[in-house]
Symmetry: C2
Subunit: 248 residues, 2 copies
Amino acid sequence: MQKKNVSELNPNVSVDCVIFGFDLEKLNVLVIDRGENELAENVRLALPGNLIYNNENLEQAAYRVLEELTSLKDIYLEQIGAFGDPNRICKEADRAWLKSIRAEPEARVITVAYFSLVKMEDYMPHAASFAKNAAWIPADEIKDLAFDHYDILQAARNKLKEKIKIQPIGFNLLPEKFTLSQLHKLYESILDKELDKRNFRRKVQKLDILTNLNEKQEGVPHKPSELYKFNEEKYQELTQNGYDNFGF
Amino acid sequence: MQKKNVSELNPNVSVDCVIFGFDLEKLNVLVIDRGENELAENVRLALPGNLIYNNENLEQAAYRVLEELTSLKDIYLEQIGAFGDPNRICKEADRAWLKSIRAEPEARVITVAYFSLVKMEDYMPHAASFAKNAAWIPADEIKDLAFDHYDILQAARNKLKEKIKIQPIGFNLLPEKFTLSQLHKLYESILDKELDKRNFRRKVQKLDILTNLNEKQEGVPHKPSELYKFNEEKYQELTQNGYDNFGF
DNA sequence: TTTGAAAGTGTAAAAATGACACACAGACCA
DNA sequence: TGGTCTGTGTGTCATTTTTACACTTTCAAA
């Protein structure tokens, strides 16, 4: 057997990324539009992903995919799990598309999915770096995706839901300065249920991980809201001292 | 490229299983002893696992590994995640061992780990079916394992810990009839902390998923305990009606 | 019959949760 | 300039949940 070149692509393992963003109204997902050619409407969209290189680990591969697409680094990233149904590449359109780009639609590919949380303001469609074939789509409006990516998306949403009950990772989706209402809406979007305003605020206050910036929103046609930022130091302090309950 | 035989082994993807058992005292893990030849003490033990076949999905592969080893079917099984560090096969002893069984220690293998929960009584060392090179080892006594299996074991324990806070999967580890004390000890083993006896019992009672069998332990040198069984119907009923809180 | 060992049981204080309604500040418009 | 619109921000009470804590019971074995 020939000596392997360690930096070649592994034909059997890919990573896919569910990249979440929050537009202060609802949860969005960054998807790739593969274009109209021979592709039915419902599978034009796919999650960004790629085969891994033999010399990188899975998480590195996910970061690479993310960075190649968005130029963003230091992003919150977490593994969802592996998806490896032998029939996950069963849609005819997917097979055709694969053939067009790498000519091995018969290969068994298992994929390891990651979800990442991005401040949408850092990667908006009008930015020069925004990939031409990428788009933010509201998570609720996605009805189908290529391959098994719709399943992966649902798994990602569930994982995010569970995770945010335990850790305040939601702050990765918000701008540096945000209002309590925005935070509130974020939790409602992720948990997919209404939360009582006053009870929500009480709970957040008790967590004691927000700093009031003593600034107000400007230009809004109503009473301006106070702005807050996430206080990472305080959070670290709390968790290191064994604080446990960031649950919602 | 030659036509692929779908039932061949995929050289790049394996599954490994963390099989938990509970001896009514502590949590145990089923490990494979690879024997003394050229292997340092700390890496003689490994998790059961194998390469996947190209025509089976990941979960099927995990069930296959489990059944090949224990002859057990219909076991609780859940994915932990994928582990794919390029250096996960770095220990010299592991490379030597791999060479001895399949001669491709250079191949990049990512593994998808599962944990499963087994009633230990169904698979005890003295049974005819018990694999000669397998052994139940108390989870706390395992200090190292082959490859990255020690990391996988820790991930499995964490996953189990999180899961049991949400769902009463612990019953998969107990015999059909069990005492509240045994259940109590199980939760303490998994959560790795003491739980107040009375508070624990009160909580369990409120879950209302146990049936009192109105039988007592026999032959114990102290007040005999009442025996209970897990009431699956009641559990299904509760969960389907949106009951949510099986937390500990 | 005594001893040892685990089973089983209740209460009170503190904390967390859930339900609920109105005054306020600014923008905009007539 | 006064009125309207819109989202912001705030407190309380009843209920449930959590936590901490100690003694009596039952059986086997000595």
